[in-house]
Amino acid sequence: MPVKGSPHIIHRYLRSSKRFPHVWCPGCGIGILLGALVRAIDRNGYSKDEIVLISGIGCSGRLPTYLDFNTLHTTHGRAVTFATGIKLAKPSLKVIVVMGDGDAASIGGNHLIHAARRNIDITAIIVNNQIYGMTGGQASPTTPLGVKTSSSPFGHLESPFDISKLVEAAGAAFVARSTVYHTRLLDRIISQALHKQGFSVVEVMAPCVTHFGKFTHMASAVEMMKWQKDNAIPLAKAGQLSEEQLRDKIVTGVLVDRDKPTFHLEHEKISRQPG
């Protein structure tokens, strides 16, 4: 067995039949998330056959392709609807959805909040790089006010969503946030999210060097990582800070952890032959 933290763990989960290299740019955060996700799955002891990994459209949409699970690359924003169908059809499967910020909070915003409200027993991992990467750097629903992008050349006129607060208000059972810089935290909260019964959300702040970095004059991966390091504030510490002090900061940690009835278990009560 490879030692804990060894890259061999990832190699055991990559698809040998898939043609590499992957599509992501140098400095992208999605590869770090892929590693964290695989480590969390491995740590929880799931078999490859019981994992279903689903994505929407965008840079994050390509993630499942590389991994040796049951994988599904769906339409833009609708990944959680497919996940809902799979989970209800076969509740024994562990269903994980990976989405981007545009995917989850813009075109898929309605699906996201309703899956949270119904408490569908799936884990949604939302890679928030604050921009549409694959289409060339347009403003997303999490792009900060004033940031210039390729579709907001005079500065973004809109305020961003706080995705974690959104899904908390919608009823998610578990909500946590980390950056890809804080990999130990990321590993831990993904592991907790997978373990949680109910709709669990992990918001992953990730750098898009190619586009967001360019528009915000942080043109290197190292610079963007440093920005994440300097601006992340653990939840316990954030409680002592004012709203003004928390502006543009990333509050990290487990934000919500509560028990609620899950849809498929409620449905089993009314179904004659559960499962």
Binding site: D49, R62, N70, I86, L88, K90
Partner: protein, 382 residues
Amino acid sequence: MRRRQRNERLLLQGSEACVRGAIAAGCRFYAGYPITPATEIMELMSRRLPEAGGVFIQMEDEIASLGAVIGASLGGLKAMTATSGPGFSLMQEHISFAAMAEVPCVIVNVMRGGPSTGLPTLPAQGDVMQARWGAHGDHPIIVLAPSSAYEFFDLTVKGFNLSERYRIPVIVLADETVSHTRESVALPHDDEVELEDRPKPTVPPEWYAPYRDPGSGVPPMPAFGEGYRYHVTGLAHDIHGYPTTRSDETGELMLRLFNKVSKDFHLLQWFDSYFEEDARVTVIAYGSVARSALRAVRVARERGLPVGLLKLKVLWPFMRRTVMRFLSASDKVLVPEMNMGQLSREVKRVNQGECQVATLNKVDGRMITPVEILARLEEMCR
């Protein structure tokens, strides 16, 4: 559900017959969104499916409904949704996905007056072309059109079977009149219903390539969780399901998607014909209009007119072979439709010029009556 006596007649709405057909066909998952005039199907499913050990969920919209249906189908269940025009428009994105990823599913569209919100409570046949071409990109599709409660049962069963056999989305295109008319029907017992299931792989997982043509054009399809860990995507893909832009692979995929259905066009010639032997003027109709047409043709026959009826049960792929036979045997053809002329375009397309094709169109939310068709037939026979 009380066990029915053999040959017992039931008084059923079309929508109830559809639900019974779906459950008899093995449907165990329904996701939907309320919309007039298809809501009854969802309401009945919410009661019947849990009783049958299936899963019902009301989703946030029609896009989500078909997404969940496709997910459930990948999970191994036969799954369906039902809607009407505006919801059907929203579903087009996922009809396209199901066609590309080859996920069996059934979509019932109970047509109402359009465009837009239109006439929610009144019948129409305005979605004939949308059912064929509404989804983006070239794709295969099968569209069935019931004209009675019995046919709604029967074509829902057959719709599931075709969708499983070819791994494609099948649309059951009903109209408000067919769905809401309550009539006496004798339904077969569940054990008398012929069922088809999607082909399953017989090779071990390490040999399995999810999109390799086994010869029939329809690759075997395991459910997620059965040990075959494969990739499903709406992107153009190679035989392993992985995205590709290589022209040899993308071209082969598209041809296979079409050929798996087109090689069997001759098996999809489902119709009823009346007075075919000596008809000089033939009515070609589908859905509730075919009921009015049959009445008109029978009265015309009583009056000595040489008329006949061809009732189409499959709209797409268009029954070219059958329709051409009727066109060449008739002097004139009348195509009555509750739209501005959609299927009549196809009839004209396959007409080799030997037959005169007339249309009778009505788009005011009222049914085309037997009297209206009869008047046209008398005129055409003059």
